[in-house]
């Protein structure tokens, strides 16, 4: 029955969606105008512009200055990636003028995508009110431009879906994660891309991913990112288990990091691992791709959207409201008790698998259909509540 339905509904190339085609050939499922601070010092100017102009989003962050080398590069790569994300129609970058992560550099890199990009520098313009006034004028033009773009028929191979879990319980690995794995396999079959992140939650399950590596280089890179994550804690003499699994994971029945990891990696499905990306890198392959991010969900999702992810499917057993400023986040509950308790935040209930009312395959297909509805414009609960958590992963200290 499942197969019949699949063949008729999914398998015939009918899983197209209506998206915004960008000048670089990528396809967005949302149409945001982004007001992007290059440095924490520009945050409030960006917020003021976004408050004034409907259809814009600012993404305040704590970074962009007093950072060195690879750490500053990672912040810059993240901001550029978010600006280039196909869900973004146009970008206004606001810099202070003396920061490490230079705003005109960010603007010119984002402009390589062909979308409209402008840059304002507070020190050059002469303070907050003048920059806000000029920014509001530019943002208004950008929204006017974006509002005239139309959704067009697009193929599913343009989709990159990030798969995330947060606030897991011991049901996550038995219901929501394997169901999302079914979704991942279905989207890959349609030519799409899945990014599985959260390296901390591959520790103890890396042998499963390694077995599916497409080649030796990918195999070695999987082992390398897992080992370096594990060694980061061990070299400090620390126990990852004091923070991950988190206290709520233990209360939810998860006993060890290995147990959490074995459940976590199921979200990626059963496909070959094509590529391993650094944090905030863009995939060059389609199919299943890994990205090295921490288990911290806001940081992980920020890495995913910088990598071009248009949508994120997010499983939870304890209940998690997190969203993303530019990507819709679909929340999947691992148990019915949570689903009923936090229905305001949950989009799909995978708890029916635990209860025995639905199969993993059925819920996986349901998530797959939801992905396409959301791609076509259906809002997720995290979007409706305005959840826009944004956190750039730091890999060096502030100086």
């Amino acid at each position: 029955m499942g197969c019949l339905f699949l063949c008729s509904a999914f398998g015939m190339g009918k899983m197209n969606f209506l998206g915004y085609k960008r000048p670089d050939g990528k396809v967005g499922v949302r149409n945001h105008v982004l007001i992007l601070p290059s440095v924490a010092c520009s945050n409030e100017v960006c917020n003021a512009i976004a408050r004034k102009v409907k259809g814009t989003i600012s993404i305040p962050h704590q970074h962009g200055c007093a950072q060195l080398s690879f750490d500053a590069e990672q912040t810059a790569r993240t901001l550029i990636g978010v600006g280039k994300n196909p869900n973004v129609a146009a970008v206004l970058v606001i810099g202070l003028g003396c920061e490490v992560v230079n705003s005109s550099m960010l603007a010119s890199k984002i402009a390589e995508s062909g979308k409209p990009v402008k840059n304002l520098v507070i020190q050059e313009i002469g303070g907050s009110p003048k920059t806000i006034r000029e920014g509001v004028r530019i943002a208004k033009e950008m929204v006017y431009f974006a509002s005239r773009l139309k959704r067009e028929k697009s193929k599913p191979n343009a989709l990159i879906l990030g798969v995330e879990c947060g606030g897991s319980d011991a049901c996550s690995g038995l219901s929501a994660n394997p169901a999302l794995g079914v979704t991942s396999d279905l989207l890959i079959k349609e030519g799409g891309t899945i990014i599985l992140s959260e390296t901390t939650e591959s520790i103890g399950a890396e042998h499963i991913l390694v077995k599916r590596a497409i080649n030796k280089k990918v195999k070695q890179k999987i082992l390398e990112i897992v080992r370096r994550t594990e060694m980061r804690a061990l070299n400090l003499g620390l126990d990852i288990g004091k923070a991950n699994p988190a206290p709520g994971n233990y209360e939810g029945g998860i006993t060890t990091l290995e147990e959490k990891s074995l459940g976590c990696v199921m979200k990626g499905g059963t496909s070959k691992v094509m590529e391993v990306l650094e944090y905030a890198e863009l995939p060059t392959q389609k199919g299943l791709v890994l990205m090295d991010t921490p288990g911290h969900d806001a940081e992980s999702m920020t890495g995913l959207i910088a990598g071009g992810t248009q949508m994120i499917a997010f499983t939870t057993g304890r209940g998690n409201p997190l969203g993303s400023p530019i990507a819709p986040v679909i929340k999947i509950a691992s148990n019915s008790c949570l689903y009923l308790k936090m229905k305001d935040n949950m989009d799909i209930n995978a708890g029916e698998i635990v209860a025995g009312n639905k199969t993993t395959q059925e819920i996986g297909e349901k998530i797959f259909r939801e992905v396409f509805r959301v791609a076509n414009g259906k809002l997720t609960k995290s979007e409706i509540w305005g959840h826009r958590e944004f956190a750039i992963n730091r890999i060096g200290p502030s100086f």
Binding site: D239, G241, G253, L257, E259
Partner: protein, 106 residues
């Protein structure tokens, strides 16, 4: 999928020595797996927590999803709750001398 759904628990893999409670199981409850295989919960097992299906010796592997999820720090009897009071993980732990062995197994 390898999971098997029983009345009160989910067994994620045939090799497992623990099963996950589908709802809270009170002490004294019988769990039936087949005509000649059943165990009794010897303490309360909260929802989503694990119950031992077999005796697990001290230092023995705890198996879920058909994989090793940790090591018993004391003997665990069939029907006992299996959690952080009687199991430790072996990865990402500073005292985990087993790191090298485990990390290279893959």
């Amino acid at each position: 999928m390898n999971e098997k759904y029983f009345d009160k628990v989910i067994l994620s893999h045939a090799k497992d020595n623990v099963a996950t409670a589908k709802s809270a199981i009170s002490s004294g409850t019988f769990l039936t797996f087949s005509k000649d295989r059943r165990i009794i919960a010897i303490e309360e097992i909260p929802f989503a927590h694990k119950i031992a299906l077999r005796r697990i010796p001290r230092d023995g592997a705890v198996i879920k999803y058909g994989e090793r999820i940790g090591r018993a720090i004391r003997e665990i009897k069939p029907g006992e709750l299996v959690h952080i009071h009687n199991v430790v993980g072996e990865r990402g732990r500073s005292e985990g001398t087993s790191l090298k062995r485990r990390a290279h197994r893959a």
